[in-house]
């Protein structure tokens, strides 16, 4: 059974706004370590954190986060 991998574009959105990890962390009320580990895929954020990140970037959660290769994780194998 493979572990589901969560991908994100947080670094891209941060770069567009010239925000550091610390700046983004301050804006949504978490530590920089949390942002850092989310970006590298070590930590899966809670729903609240994911929504807050998307809100800060003024976009949807699906634009920021995605599941790597969705076809491998279908509940109904073809």
């Amino acid at each position: 059974m493979r572990e589901v991998q969560l991908e994100n574009r947080i670094r891209v959105y941060r770069a567009e706004r010239r925000w550091s990890q610390a700046e983004l962390a301050r804006r949504i009320g978490v530590s920089r370590k949390t942002i850092s580990t989310i970006e590298v895929g070590r930590f899966v954020p809670s729903t609240i954190i994911a929504l807050l990140i998307a809100r800060e970037f003024e976009t949807s959660v699906e634009q920021v986060f995605s599941i790597a290769d969705p076809s491998e994780h279908s509940l109904n194998p073809r």
């Binding site: 941060r14 550091s20 301050r26 009320g29 530590s31 920089r32 370590k33 949390t34 850092s36 809670s46």
Partner: protein, 149 residues
């Protein structure tokens, strides 16, 4: 300037370090039952207990002082360090449960060592496992540099 979440993360880290020191203290206490009359072990146990109190109480005081007048919101325990604490708690609980079960089955009838020895061992394992798991999970994060985009 630290935000509220950073303060809480540092508080959790200091408390985890205090637990680790306390675990080492109980370890020396258990060794003291095996090596009777060792002044070194007694002083080491007291020193570690004092260090643990300093870290845990100091962390509480520091957090209270740093939190005065702060209006910024903070999202409970849903961050990376909060999750590391939870995983450490789980590992600690599981190892303690296993150890107590082993003691119950294999050493319950033994009288060659005082009860305090077994309490020290249980507490030592509980706290050492907690500290080991927590600092293993958070250790590699320390060197990551922030990129000022």
């Amino acid at each position: 300037m630290l935000n509220a979440a950073e303060i809480c993360d540092r508080h959790r880290t200091a408390v985890a370090a205090g637990f680790l020191a306390l675990g080492l203290g109980f370890t020396t206490g258990a060794l003291g039952h095996l090596i009777e009359g060792s002044q070194v072990l007694q002083w080491l146990e007291r020193g570690l207990a004092g260090l643990a109190v300093l870290l845990i109480v100091g962390a509480m005081v520091w957090k209270s002082v740093k939190s005065v007048g702060r209006g910024a919101s903070y999202i409970g325990g849903t961050g990376f360090v909060g999750e590391a604490v939870t995983k450490a708690h789980v590992a600690s609980w599981a190892s303690t449960f296993i150890l107590i079960s082993v003691f119950k089955v294999f050493v319950a009838d033994r009288a060659d060592l005082p009860h305090e020895f077994y309490f020290d061992v249980i507490l030592a394992v509980m706290l050492l496992v907690h500290g080991f798991v927590f600092f293993t999970l958070t250790r590699s994060v320390q060197t990551e540099q922030d990129d000022h985009a």
